[in-house]
């Protein structure tokens, strides 16, 4: 159940459709308005949850995932990496919910992290509406616009010590010298490579964290490749994905049934 619908062009995950993120309706009218109605996948998801009138603490994932996929296709967002990543996440949760629970005491609801993220996102939206309100108030007042051309005043003495300069040198040079594996070339998903990376990491360590697999500054295509790779490996039973508590790092471990994990 973790496969994507065949018509979803995963290979273009880094591509953002033209018009996406535009601020005002252009010639294409309602379409653009619809697109910009959402500031990201969490926003779209929250709106779905509202429209479907479902309990945020008990999201019917199968239904919501299906709706989400349909909406991003209708909105032409199905090539935007951020939305695709959320789609993959929903499908992963759906798959996890289908797994047998085993002894229920240890069971962690796979939706927990998503709920946490939605609540956190919602809290941020509260702050945004508040800030928007204040910005609108301020926008309705003009500041003084005319400022006479003064001859450039002599500059105030500069407060800068040598140690401040040297610390700055230290900071920037460390940033330069530390290895930078940043890959700036946009490219389609590379799931086989991600699987290779995860396999070799798991050969080294019995347990991995999500952040071992995906660096904090990974490009969306890297995140997505790793995610799909993980899902595939979980599906064929090579590893086990779990989260100790909501919002914690995802833990990846060799499948308990895999004899290799006994040695670790």
């Amino acid at each position: 159940m973790t496969t994507f619908p065949p018509d979803m062009p995963l290979s273009n995950a880094g591509y953002v459709p033209p018009g996406f993120g535009r601020q005002s309706a252009g010639d294409d009218g309602a379409f653009v308005v619809e697109l910009t109605a959402f500031s990201g996948p969490l926003d779209l998801l929250l709106s779905l949850i509202r429209d479907e009138k479902v309990d945020i603490y008990d999201i019917p994932i199968a239904r919501v995932a299906e709706q989400f996929l349909r909406r991003i296709r209708t909105l032409g967002l199905n090539e935007a990496a951020d939305y695709l990543e959320m789609a993959a996440r929903l499908l992963r949760i759906k798959a996890q919910l289908l797994l047998p629970r085993g002894e229920s005491e240890q069971w962690e609801d796979p939706r927990a992290e998503l709920v946490r993220r939605l609540l956190e996102y919602q809290q941020m939206r509260e702050i945004v509406s508040l800030m928007e309100h204040r910005a609108d108030e301020r926008r309705n007042q003009f500041a003084r616009a005319y400022l006479p051309d003064q001859p450039a005043p002599p500059q105030a003495p500069l407060a800068l010590s040598l140690s401040e300069l040297l610390s700055a040198v230290d900071r920037v040079l460390r940033a330069v010298y530390e290895p930078n594996m940043h890959d700036v070339v946009a490219r389609p998903l590379d799931v086989p490579a991600a699987i290779e990376i995860i396999r070799s990491l798991l050969a080294l360590k019995a347990r991995l964290q999500w952040t071992d697999v995906v660096r904090a500054d990974a490009k969306p295509w890297q995140v997505l490749s790793a995610l799909l790779g993980l899902l595939e490996l979980a599906r064929i039973g090579e590893l086990h994905v779990a989260q100790p508590r909501p919002f914690a790092n995802v833990e990846i471990s060799r499948d308990p049934s895999d004899p290799a994990s006994e040695a670790a």
Partner: protein, 200 residues
């Protein structure tokens, strides 16, 4: 008005940005801080009671004279000044996170917003609403961002502490009736609060 109040008024008229109390006190080094506050009060009261088209407000870590909101439309219609463009939802969300979690790196913003924020950070930086305030430890020593005084100005805040604390949010929101969050349980309580965003 008293001579000190007149001097303050002149200085406030000469600036497009809020003027800090330090800068105002440099105008008249002899004046005590009590005298300064009294003179500011005098200007503010004069504007409020003598029927002026402008008012004195405390904002962005200083004081600023602004036109009264009721004249905005007429001024804009006469094309004598134009209101700035509103920030996009993406920009507002990013700013909200930076305001509450500063210093914060790009990765954390992206984690919470669920989208890439590279270009948003760039344009917020160009607009002077955020600045690089340091570097995180760790690989590549990623840049950390914080808000600027211009941010306070843009949102008519005197200081960052004026933003509601996370546990006050639901209450604060009720003051500004907003339809966006209806139908969904609010987040001020439950396990969300302890890790929730706090003003920085």
């Amino acid at each position: 008005m008293t001579p000190l109040a007149k001097l303050l008024e002149a200085a406030l008229f000469a600036s497009a940005r809020p003027v800090s109390v330090e800068e105002l006190s440099a105008l008249e080094p002899e004046a005590s801080s009590g005298e300064l506050t009294a003179a500011l009060d005098e200007v503010r009261l004069h504007y409020d009671t003598e029927g002026h088209g402008v008012e004195l407000v405390e904002i962005g870590g200083g004081w600023q004279i602004l036109t009264r909101a009721e004249y905005t439309e007429a001024i804009e219609r006469a094309q004598l000044a134009a209101r700035p463009q509103r920030l996009s939802a993406a920009a507002l969300e990013t700013l909200a996170l930076i305001a509450y979690r500063q210093p914060i790196g790009r990765a954390e913003v992206e984690e919470i917003r669920g989208v890439n924020v590279g270009s948003v950070l760039k344009s917020l930086h160009e607009r002077g609403l955020i600045d690089v305030v340091g570097r995180a430890e760790g690989l590549g020593r990623p840049l950390l961002y914080g808000t600027t005084p211009l941010f306070l100005e843009h949102f008519a805040l005197r200081h960052l502490e004026e933003l509601p604390r996370a546990d006050e949010l639901a209450i604060a929101l009720r003051h500004h009736a907003d339809a966006r969050v209806d139908g969904i349980a609010l987040t001020a309580e439950g396990d969300g609060a302890s890790d929730g965003i706090q003003p920085g």
